[in-house]
Amino acid sequence: MTTDIGQWLGHLIGQVEGVQHRGRHARRQRLDVAPDALPALLELLQGKGSFVHLSAISCVDWPEDGQFELVYHVWSYELKTLVSAHIRIPREPGRYLSVYDIYKPAAFFERDIHEMYGVFFEGSPSMEKFILTEWDGPPPMRKEFDSENWVNDHFDWQDYHPDWLNDIESRGGGIAIRPDEQRFSRKAKHES
């Protein structure tokens, strides 16, 4: 059954407009979908194609294109095939439809993406904070969020103090390894 999956899937998605099919492998199929067509496609895949399991929704930020890419991974237990449906939505205003009515687990993924990227999903049951409950900065997974700057503004730095290590070694501490078990870095030091 898995041998003709590409052909079968191509036939199925022929019923939805605006879908491009790229089958790289029998068990990994990629669909590039127009944003309007995605809910219909998912409904078709779930209802007719036995793709009952939504594995994940992932989000990719493309700041140069001004777009977010949303990837819906759906899995079929009968066909043993993972279909990834890719859509591109404009980065501003970053709104899209929830697929909660088709796949219930989508609520968690959408909530997570809303928190990390600021994409708002209309019709999702909850768009509240999920993991970053005590975070009030910008969505941290967007490419324009400069993690290093934020860290420099909010934290101090310190170095390892090399004297600690000298102290420890002078007291006979550190890791003692038998010469025949030493790795090359220590061995070279030992022999020289």
């Binding site: 970053l132 730095w157 103090h161 004297d163 600690w164």
Partner: protein, 243 residues
């Protein structure tokens, strides 16, 4: 970048050795310190991967208990707070709450590079970089991760420090509470508060100093919400349901 040696830590020297020239004057204090250093209960706050090295350090292979250190389940009964691994900002709040609940004298050990300077999470917005900004750390055990031998070596060093009376950074938390609170507020926001009366405790221990209060503790008073007493009923939920 600041190095650890630049960070001022108030080290009160042990009591003057000879009171009136009597060599036995401190024998009782020494005895207490000796006993204290030989019976340490350790609360390990397993925040990260370093916790993996603790079960072998505690159990029969390396056997921490032979130097008198045991795990303890509650902060009230623990002497050592072991912070093992990276500390996220959310976790740090809980660590501070846990630390403030512990009874003095108390000691903090930071295990793994992440507690020293963020380790491999140096660039992460969610991970605290220097544990000693927020808590008075007595000892760092560096490594990613430190082997059980290193953990035991560090605990032995702490034991020796306690016995010598040099490991009393917990006093520093009371004496310079404003400094620690300022760093906490910088990270958690100006309305950060803990339910513990640290300032009252500082007065109780006789550790109230000029740096205990400051601009940050004044801000605390602005935001402090009065604690509401809990309703003391038996099985409150069920009774309401019956009514």
């Amino acid at each position: 970048m600041t190095s650890l040696s630049d960070i001022p830590v108030i080290q009160t020297p042990p009591e003057a050795p000879a009171r009136g020239g009597n060599p036995l004057a401190n024998v009782f204090d020494d005895f207490i310190r000796y006993c204290r250093s030989r019976s340490l209960f350790m609360l390990h706050y397993c925040t990260g991967c370093g916790a993996i090295e603790l079960p072998p350090a505690m159990t029969s292979r390396f056997d921490m208990e032979r130097i008198g250190i045991q795990p303890m389940v509650t902060p009230r009964q623990a002497d050592i707070l072991l912070v093992t691994g990276y500390v996220s900002v959310k976790t740090l709040k809980r660590i501070i709450l846990t630390y403030e609940q512990m009874a003095s004298p108390k000691y903090v050990i930071g295990i793994c590079s992440c507690t020293v300077n963020g380790g491999m999470y140096w660039q992460s917005y969610a991970t605290a970089k220097k544990l000693n900004d927020y808590l008075p750390v007595d000892l760092y055990i560096a490594g990613c991760m430190p082997r059980p031998e290193a953990v035991i070596e560090g605990l032995k060093a702490l034991r020796d420090n306690i016995e010598a009376g040099t490991s009393d950074n917990w006093k520093d938390y009371y004496q310079r509470y404003d400094h620690y609170l300022g760093n906490q507020q910088r990270l958690f926001g100006a309305d950060w508060q803990t339910p513990t009366e640290v300032i009252a405790e500082a007065k109780h221990y006789g550790l109230f100093g000029p740096d205990t209060l400051g601009e940050h503790t004044r801000r605390l008073e602005d935001h402090r919400k009065p604690l509401e007493p809990l309703r003391m009923t038996l099985n409150a939920g069920r009774l309401e349901h019956m009514e």
